[in-house]
């Protein structure tokens, strides 16, 4: 997991995804305290206002909450994190399917291909 910011999209939207994934992967476990906005910004080498904007977005998703004076915490609601994980998975799957359709695969062919690759034990890493 790294703070790899791409060129083509707003930085805050990418930060929302990266931190969301860090929560899903337990790098920031449920009910744990997040580093300060400044520290997170320094870690990611991004503008602190941009980091703040990303955290506000994650807060509106319910993944984190602000506790007055003490800082921001990851939600203790494990089900909510699971739901978020599923939501991300469905979105990524949608992107994948659209790409495959662009390559002229039918849904049946896509399913077949996925099955075969999974059985081959491919980890899908380049």
């Amino acid at each position: 997991m790294s703070w790899d910011i791409k060129d083509d999209r707003p930085v805050y939207a990418q930060l929302v995804e990266i931190i969301g994934q860090m929560i899903i992967k337990n790098i920031f476990p449920p009910d744990s305290k997040l580093p300060s906005v400044r520290d997170l910004a320094a870690l990611a080498e991004v503008n602190p206002n941009t980091m703040q904007k990303a955290l506000v977005e994650l807060e509106s998703e319910g993944l984190i909450s602000s506790v007055r004076t003490t800082g921001k915490y990851v939600t203790d609601n494990v089900e909510l994190i699971k739901g978020y994980k599923r939501k991300i998975a469905v979105r990524e799957l949608g992107r994948f399917i659209n790409k495959m359709k662009d390559l002229d695969f039918t849904m049946e062919e896509i399913k077949d291909l996925v099955d075969k690759e999974v059985n081959n034990g491919n980890s899908f890493r380049n």
Binding site: I5, D7, D8, R9, A42, N47
Partner: protein, 232 residues
């Protein structure tokens, strides 16, 4: 946030030649601004005018509501393009120098950053590598609780690890109500830490805006936008 830097009808000429002609600009506190342009576009002239090293031919510059002059020196922290420290000095001499000159200098902060880098206070500046010297200068400048930080090419000529260190040091230490102006042509390296950008060329503002808005509207980085605007 209050206005930290206010510029009205600013013009600087040398004889008949206009070096800078940028009209009006206003910056509120809490922002990191990129002053971006090719070599010789007027970035350093701008920084020197705001720091008070040069006087405008026309117009005025106010920092924290005061016209630039002796009064604003105490609230402006300036990192010049060139080495500004004397080579014979030891790190501890430079610390003493900053403590004498600037009331807002946080000595404890500077000492802790220097010790994190493993810099010996008895080491003289001339024995340091270029990258280390740049780091020491930046640490001193960022250890002031200033209202305006003017950083002229803070990452010029340093390796990627030193660059990361310098960016992290800027992000972690600037005063929250302050404005940070970073003048550089190394756009890809700094754009993620910027709120807003200003492109200048031949002394004029060519384009200005918010970094994330450009990405949202045009789907491209400031670096790519710069390459388009300044295509040779």
């Amino acid at each position: 946030m209050e206005t930290v830097l206010e510029i009205k009808g600013l013009k600087k000429s040398y004889g008949k030649k206009a070096a800078l002609d940028i009209g009006n600009l206003e910056f509120k506190g809490g922002k990191i601004i990129g002053l971006l342009g090719p070599n010789g576009s007027g970035k350093t002239t701008f920084i020197k005018l705001v720091s008070g090293l040069l006087t405008p031919t026309l117009g005025e510059i106010k920092v924290g509501g005061m016209l630039v002059g002796a009064d604003t020196k105490s609230i402006v922290s300036y990192l010049p393009d060139a080495n500004y420290l004397f080579d014979w000095m030891k790190t501890k001499d430079v610390i003493a120098f900053f403590k004498d000159f600037y009331k807002d200098f946080d000595e404890g902060l500077a000492l802790s950053m220097l010790s994190n880098l493993g810099i010996d206070l008895k080491q003289s500046l001339k024995s340091m590598s270029k990258g280390t010297k740049e780091k020491v200068q930046l640490i001193l400048v960022m250890s002031r609780r200033a209202k305006l930080y003017l950083l002229d090419e803070p990452i010029g000529g340093v390796d990627p690890a030193a660059r990361d260190y310098i960016l992290k040091t800027i992000i972690s230490n600037y005063n929250e109500e302050a404005v940070v102006v970073i003048a550089t042509h190394l756009i890809g390296d700094v754009e993620n830490i910027l709120d807003d950008f200003i492109f200048i060329d031949e002394g004029k503002v060519v384009l200005a805006g918010s970094v994330d808005e450009v990405r949202e509207e045009k789907g491209k980085s400031i670096d790519n936008l710069f390459r388009e605007v300044f295509k040779c």
